[in-house]
């Protein structure tokens, strides 16, 4: 039993926790931004898949990692634009439109990948992001190797959480976005443009989802394969509810979730013989559902979430 607790205290566990958390942080932050403006974006799973593919492919072709990240962000924003046209301009069902985007984005990423990289024995790889030890901070005992010896994308994710939290809570732009998500008619009465705000929030949020996907192929692994996103997008949607639509709590949720995931991987190594490994793999999904059940009633949902806005129509 003490062994199990010891695992919890190793820097290695926490280091992989932040690694596992990174795509979830990007994705949750992206979904949160969309929802704060009043639009559910179920395109996330497909957008992350496309981000993973295009990020990898761009880096494979150019040899430059940051070009890959940028490509993933731009592709994400493009799918966000499509989602915005469908859900904001046309006011279609956000559920169905989002699922359509997921199906389209993931199938087209497999198609483009197969076009660019014909079937081979082993998938080609890129030189992935190496961990970057932050000078000074990484020498700290325990927390240094756990938190300050990560890839640049993890630091970017953490900075973006702070930035998003600050923008949403403390700037006029953030207030405008939140007002659009609560009551777009009131926003318009204030002279704001709810349509433009929603477009902006969805595109920015979708860009974050794309970057989250690219972390998988440019930092966590070094190659792309179909179905590699493995429901992470849906988990992010659950984490947004868990976070009660607040960026800092989204970070907390993503890290808790990743800690659990990293821990179960180590438990698998301990109990792997006695307990089927599938049970461990199920735990993250079960945990997400439980979190939803616990949080759903307490959460203060943005009041205009999933309500299309049409000027002059109530």
């Amino acid at each position: 039993m003490t062994d199990l607790l010891d695992i919890l205290l190793t820097a290695g566990l926490w280091s992989s926790t932040f690694r596992i958390a990174t795509p979830l942080i990007f994705g949750t932050l992206g979904a949160l931004l969309c929802e704060r403006a009043g639009v559910l974006n179920l395109g996330i799973e497909g957008i992350m898949t496309f981000g993973a593919m295009i990020g990898w492919l761009t880096t494979y072709l150019t040899g430059d990692l940051w070009s890959g990240v940028l490509a993933a962000a731009l592709a994400g924003a493009a799918f966000g634009l499509l989602h915005a046209v469908l859900t904001v301009t046309l006011g279609l069902s956000q559920h169905v439109a989002g699922l359509g985007i997921t199906l389209f984005a993931s199938s087209s990423s497999y198609y483009v990948f197969r076009l660019a990289v014909p079937v081979q024995g082993t998938p080609p790889t890129v030189e992935a992001f190496a961990p970057l030890a932050l000078p000074g901070l990484s020498d700290l005992p325990w927390i240094g190797p756990a938190l300050f010896t990560q890839t640049p994308l993890t630091y970017l994710a953490l900075v973006l959480v702070l930035l998003t939290a600050w923008i949403l809570a403390r700037t006029p732009l953030g207030l405008a976005v939140r007002l659009t998500g609560e009551n777009p008619h009131a926003a318009e009465a204030q002279g704001l443009d709810p349509v433009a705000l929603r477009y902006g929030a969805i595109m920015a949020g979708s860009a974050l989802m794309g970057v989250g996907g690219s972390f998988l192929t440019l930092a966590a692994f070094n190659s792309f394969f179909p179905t590699m996103v493995q429901g992470r997008g849906w988990i992010c949607i659950a984490l947004v509810v868990f976070s009660t639509w607040r960026p800092m709590r989204a970070l907390l949720g993503a890290v808790l979730f990743a800690l659990f995931d990293a821990y179960q991987l180590r438990l698998q190594a301990v109990f792997g013989k006695a307990v089927p490994y599938q049970l461990f793999l199920m735990l993250p999904y079960v945990l997400s559902i439980l979190a939803l059940v616990v949080m759903a009633r307490r959460a203060r949902v943005p009041q205009a979430l999933m309500k299309p806005y049409r000027r002059g129509e109530r």
Binding site: L90, M282, Y285, S288
Partner: protein, 345 residues
């Protein structure tokens, strides 16, 4: 750009909508095929030929149509009442697994109905729970049904590597096979086409009749149009949504049962190439109409079977079929919108 609601619903436009959507999807898909360097017209011809051009092609297409009718119905039934069942994939596998398990217990002539029932019940359970969670705790069933898909698939993997493992499968993870007396009879000799197709078509007709002529059908439609208005009019909302969940989950579970009993004979992790998710596309292309689902399923199945053969011949990735169907879904959403709205002058 601004839109205004059309005063009247035009039947011409309603029928035109899916055709326009499919046309748009084909044009974009043609562009994507051209991107791969393959001749577009030749690719289209080969898709048609591989889907309908021979006895084998036609029976393969109809074999693929069968589960898609059922998962398409599952989505259509649920979406009509605004129960967002995205878990048909998991319900399909749940039904398949329950069927394989039940086949070890129930012998003889009772097997076929008992196995189908087992599959349907598994599907029902997998959807009633998320819908009950929505009614009781306000948990969005979209996310729970999506997450359940992963849980069920892992459970299937656990079962076929564990308690349901076929020891004679040379180490390949698949379930113990369903005994011959529980296999569905063939519809056409020397093909894979089985009577499941008839069952699926009958299910579509049945759903049509239920929608059209029963109180429940009316209540489900009312719940889908506006839940508050339905409640105000005295529709028992919880009961309606739970019944809808039973119908939808049962259809998806039945699809899994029939696929096992009719085609594969056992459960493996690649039993479904996304039948559950594709069912959503089928339902939307059919405009959620149960009889339309039959046509839409045939169309989607032909596309997949045809694209498989075409991709082997012309080296176009077979994912082109997935891209085309998802494009058709998005185009269909827009097309439906324009049957209800027009650009304001």
């Amino acid at each position: 750009m601004r839109f205004e609601r059309r005063a009247t619903r035009s039947w011409g436009l309603t029928l035109l909508a899916p055709l326009m959507a499919v046309a748009v999807a084909f044009v974009v898909a043609g562009g994507l095929i051209a991107l791969s360097g393959a001749p577009v017209i030749e690719a289209g011809r080969r898709i048609l030929e591989n889907a309908f051009g021979s006895r084998l092609a036609l029976t393969e297409t109809l074999t693929r149509t069968t589960p898609l009718i059922l998962t398409g119905l599952a989505a259509a039934v649920a979406f009509r009442a605004r129960v967002w069942n995205i878990g048909a994939e998991g319900q399909f596998y749940g039904g398949a697994l329950a069927t394989a398990a039940m086949a070890q217990v129930v012998p003889g002539p009772l097997a076929i109905p008992a196995l189908m029932l087992a599959g349907a019940v598994a599907g029902v359970v997998l959807l009633v729970v998320p819908v009950a969670l929505r009614l009781r705790f306000g948990v969005d069933e979209v996310v729970t049904t999506l997450l359940l898909n992963f849980i069920v698939l892992l459970f299937v993997s656990l079962a076929i590597e564990g308690f349901l493992r076929d020891p004679l499968a040379f180490g390949w993870p698949q379930s113990v096979p369903v005994p011959p007396e529980a296999r569905l009879p063939k519809l056409v000799d020397r093909s894979r086409l089985h009577v499941g197709l008839v069952i699926a078509v009958l299910a579509a007709v049945l759903v049509y009749l239920v929608n059209r002529y029963t109180v429940f059908g009316l209540q489900a439609r009312a719940a889908g149009l506006s839940a508050p208005a339905a409640r105000f009019a005295g529709v028992p909302l919880s009961r309606t949504l739970l019944t809808t969940a039973c119908l939808s989950g049962g259809l998806a579970g039945l699809a899994g049962a029939i696929e096992v009993m009719g085609v594969k004979g056992h459960v493996s992790s690649d039993l479904s190439p996304g039948f559950g998710y594709t069912g959503i596309v089928v339902a939307m292309l059919a405009g959620l109409s149960p009889l339309g689902v039959i046509l839409a399923a045939l169309f989607v199945a032909a596309l997949f079977v045809g694209a498989d053969g075409m991709s082997r011949a012309l080296a176009v990735p077979s994912f082109i079929a997935d891209v085309t169907t998802s494009l058709a879904l998005l185009a269909m959403l827009v097309a439906i919108f324009f049957t209800q709205y027009r650009v304001a002058k």
